[in-house]
Structure formats: C-alpha cells, structure tokens
Symmetry: C2
Subunit: 310 residues, 2 copies
C-alpha cells in the first residue's frame, strides 16, 4: 500500500496564481515567474499554480509544464508549489502529476474529472486511485479540489473518507471552494486528525478555518492581497483577529463585485503599471473600462496597495 | 475573410463511436477500427468519433490523434469522419482541429470550452473564432456541439448567428443534444437556409428534424442500431415514417433505462461476444451484472440484433 512520507507540509496562504498571456495568447513565463516571486516575498507560503483563477484549463498540459519548469528554474522553491494537475483525461492527470512530483512540488491540487456530471463516488474514487497508483511515488501529496460551482462535480465526505483509508499520507487535504462553511466544517471535524489539511477556498472563511483546525487558505485574492491575508493567518489566535478578518473580507468584497479573474488581472496591471496583464484567454473576457473604473478607485479608497510589484 | 469551399457535406446518421479500452485502460485501436468499419457497413453515413459517448474527454489529445490516424490508415474514409475536437484549452482545440483538417475529415464537432460556467456569448465567439482563424483552412467544416446537460455551457441562437455571419461555409451546422425539440426547432427555422446543417442529438427527434429541414442525427444508439435509424432517415417522406420512427424510439427507450455509455458497451460486448468492450475509463463505471441482465433480454424481446458484428 502506498503511504506518504513524513515531510513538512505547506501551510498558510496560497495564491492560485493568475497566468499572463502575450498578444498571441501564449503563456508569458517571464511575467509569470516575476509575479510568483513577488507573491512569495509578500505573504504567500505557497503557490497553487494552475488553479481555476489561473485559467489552467484553458491551457494544454504542455503549456503548463513549460511554466512549471520556468518557475523552478527561476528559483521558486518547488516545495512551495501545489500545481493543479487534475484534468478530465486520466492520461493528462497522470502525466502532469508525475512531472510535479518529479520536480519536487510540495503537493498537487486535483480537480475531479469534470466533463461527465452526476458520476458516482466509486467512479471518482477510481479516477483518483488510478492517478495515485500510476504515479506510484510516496512523495506525492494530493490535495482534493472541491469546487462544485464551477466543476459541477462535488467531492463528498464519503469519497474523502475512502481515499484517506486507502492512501493515508498521500491524500493530504482539500481546498474547499464551495463558498459554504457548512461544507468545510464537517471536513474539519471528520478528517483534520487524520493528517488531512483543510484549506478554505476563500479568505472570507480563513479565521473560521484556523479556529476549526484548518491549515490556511488558497484564495483568488491571494494574488493581490497576500500580505494582509497572511497577517490574519499568522495571528488567528490574537485578540484582534476578528477585526483583522473584517479587513481582508472587506477587500475581497470589493474585488468580487467584478468578474474575479479579469479583476485580479486588472489590479495587477494597474498597480504594476503593466497593461499586458489584462489579457485573458477565451472564453474569459477582460474587464470593461467601466468595470475597471469602478474597481480601482474603490480599492484605493480602502487603502489597498501592492508594494514593490514588479 | 475565411469562407468554406463547396464540397459534399456529411448527411444522415452518425454514431458518436464508443471507445474500447484495454485492461490497462489504454485505447484499443484495433477494436475501435473494427467497430467503425462495422458501423459504416451497417447504416452510418459518418462517424462522430470522440464525442460524449466516446469518453473523448477522458482521453488526451495524443491518444485521440493516434486513434484518428489508425482509422484513416484502416481504410475508413476521412470524408465520413466528424471527430470531436473541442476542449477546454484553446491550444488543444487548435491542435486537434488542425490535424483533423489535415487528414481530410469531413467536419469537426466542437464543444465549447466547458470548464468555466456562465461565460458570455462574446467569450464563446472568441473561442470558436480563435480556433477557426488559427487553423486557417477553408476546408474546415465546423459543427457546433450544443449539449447543455453535460457541458453546462449552452450555444445560443445569437452565437450561432454571429458565427455564421463571420464564417459562412466554415460554420457548417450543429448537433443539438439538448434533448429538447423546442431548442432544435428555432435552429432549423433561423439557419437551415444559410448552409447550416442541423443534426438531432438523438434519433427520438430524427423524423421531426428531417421534416423541419434537418440533415440527420448524431446519436448514441447509432453505435448499436444504425441500420434501423438509417432506414428512418432515408424514408422520412414515406407514408409509414411515423411507424418506423416509433420502432427506433422504442429501442432507444430500452437502452436509455441504463446509463448510456456503459449500456452501449455492454450491448456491443454481448452481441459481439467480446467482454473486453465492457470496460470504461473512470469516472464512468461498467454496467452492473444486474443492469446488463435487464438490458439484454429486453432488447432481444424487442427483436434487436447486430448482424455481422465482428
């Protein structure tokens, strides 16, 4: 039976890093590495590259592997990386997970296969199991990615339990992007004492998650506000934790009035004075000038800044 | 402006061909080619390989291109092929569509990028447009794949209109797998006179579609019942067309009492006496023995057969 080795796990705030695209829509490795370095210097404990906010599914496996390689060559510690490696195709998930482990990534964040809807827990168990067995490496740390509003394929408590029974130490945790605390709470209660690390999918739930025994959050706005979110994560036991939480929640609420991914890109473009960052791959669209004219002044009025953005 | 060349289009019954997998879950090209040949000899005018029923999204681009190559080398006429080439990743859709055109395929059936939900028509227009422009070949015949129950990303009438305006002759038609005649009817009424070929996504709507000016159907059960469905398609003007339609609808209803994809595989396994066919890739599951014990006798009682199945 494959069992995970005992090594230090990633804990704290992770950004699902947004991906810059060139004029021809090819991924821009230089800008990507620069942004990742800024994130690591400014509060991120790790980087969940190739997540939903990364437009990861809009890129091929080859494009993502090139970016991952550039990151590691660019000096970002592989142990801090938790790339998204779950695809609809079993063969794609295996290929990318294998490569992430080979590079020494601290973990992988794995979507369920998300094309077919209404699939059974047994089918999903077999999907994850096939990837784990084919990769066959005890260094693998697999974090399940529960994001029913987008994937439309949920990861149930029963499925988590079955995977933990079979692959203790390899199945390492979850990102819960349900946006629903009543989903996260039982994950903590049932599995936190079994080496299962629960990350909230939004900093709105960060304090609740830390108080419940979770390990941090993996959050879109970690791309632009990592310092303040990290401050809450480190000080969750302090008397003013609720006040700190209210601050990061307020920033989040401003950003999420707009479509999240282009909003994050517009913020980095604006505060880094680099228009190239605004570009998205279809089917996503950039913010309209009007949306951006609403977003940026609201952030500035709230005292938001991105110090030292390259 | 890219305009399609005038060549004979695929019309009639197409099967979204089920994909056989070996014990190690690798695609089995030999069995695949044999089944495709049987389909072409037994009523199919064309083959919509790599559709939903093909478990196409459970395979990598490379795995699909190997199967496509084997088909063409195996003597199946490329002009009869309408492979699914739409992926979440723009780069994957471009790569596979380009290769399909290079091989001389009669068309491609293209899913919208299906990870992000609630995307705009503008975003989807850009997705299809980028693929068409990057492939840049007037031989391309692009059929839009509308399957909201699975993709959860619909293709609207407005989007079809915009794509037809920009790419007449290249945007060649649609497979409507909404399961809802009130979706298909306006597609026919608005676009059938603009070189836009409407295929019903199920033979249940075949007669309605032919009477409304459609060109046939692309249907799951085309994998097992192509002769009878083709007979309706060819005789839709005959006085007993409604009776013929009732016959194929009855067969369909028996099959779809079970989960469709494993049911089709179980039927081919049973009538071809080849257990290997039962295998699915996760997250799909084979039929249970009990499900199969319900399905097969019901089909036999209805007089169903698959003559000459290899």
């Amino acid at each position: 039976m494959l069992q995970g080795t005992k090594v230090k796990r990633i804990e704290g705030v992770l950004a699902p890093v947004i991906t810059p695209f060139r004029r021809d829509l090819s991924p821009d490795a230089d800008r990507f590495v620069r942004h990742c370095r800024w994130l690591m210097r400014n509060g991120c404990a790790g980087l969940a590259v190739f997540g939903t906010n990364s437009e990861a599914n809009s890129m091929s496996v080859e494009e993502k592997l090139e970016l991952l390689d550039a990151l590691v060559k660019g000096g970002v510690p592989a142990a801090a990386l938790m790339p998204g490696t779950g695809h609809c195709a079993l063969s794609d998930s295996v290929k990318m997970t294998r490569e992430a482990v080979r590079l020494g990534c601290g973990g992988v964040l794995m979507l369920p296969p998300f094309y077919y809807k209404g699939v059974s827990d047994e089918g999903l168990f077999r999907s994850f199991s096939e990837v784990i067995e084919r990769v066959g490496d005890e260094r693998l740390r697999l974090y399940l990615y529960h994001i029913p509003p987008v994937a439309n394929v949920p990861i149930t408590l029963d499925l988590i339990g079955r995977l933990l029974d079979r692959y203790p130490g390899v199945v390492a945790g979850v990102k819960d992007s349900s946006g629903d605390w009543s989903s996260t709470k039982p994950m903590l209660e049932r599995f936190r004492d079994r080496g299962f690390d629960v990350f909230a999918g939004s900093e709105v739930f960060l304090l609740d998650n830390m108080r419940g025994g979770g390990k941090g959050c993996i959050t879109a706005t970690g791309n632009v506000n990592p310092g303040a979110i990290d401050h809450v994560c480190r000080n969750w036991r302090s008397p003013d934790a609720d006040k700190l939480q209210a601050g990061i929640t307020a920033t989040r609420k401003i950003v999420q009035k707009q479509p999240m991914i282009p909003a994050l890109k517009a913020i980095v473009a604006h505060f880094g004075n680099d228009a190239e960052w605004r570009r998205t791959r279809p089917p996503l669209l950039e913010l309209t000038p009007e949306q951006e004219r609403t977003l940026i002044p609201e952030l500035k009025a709230a005292g938001f800044a991105m110090p030292g953005l390259p």
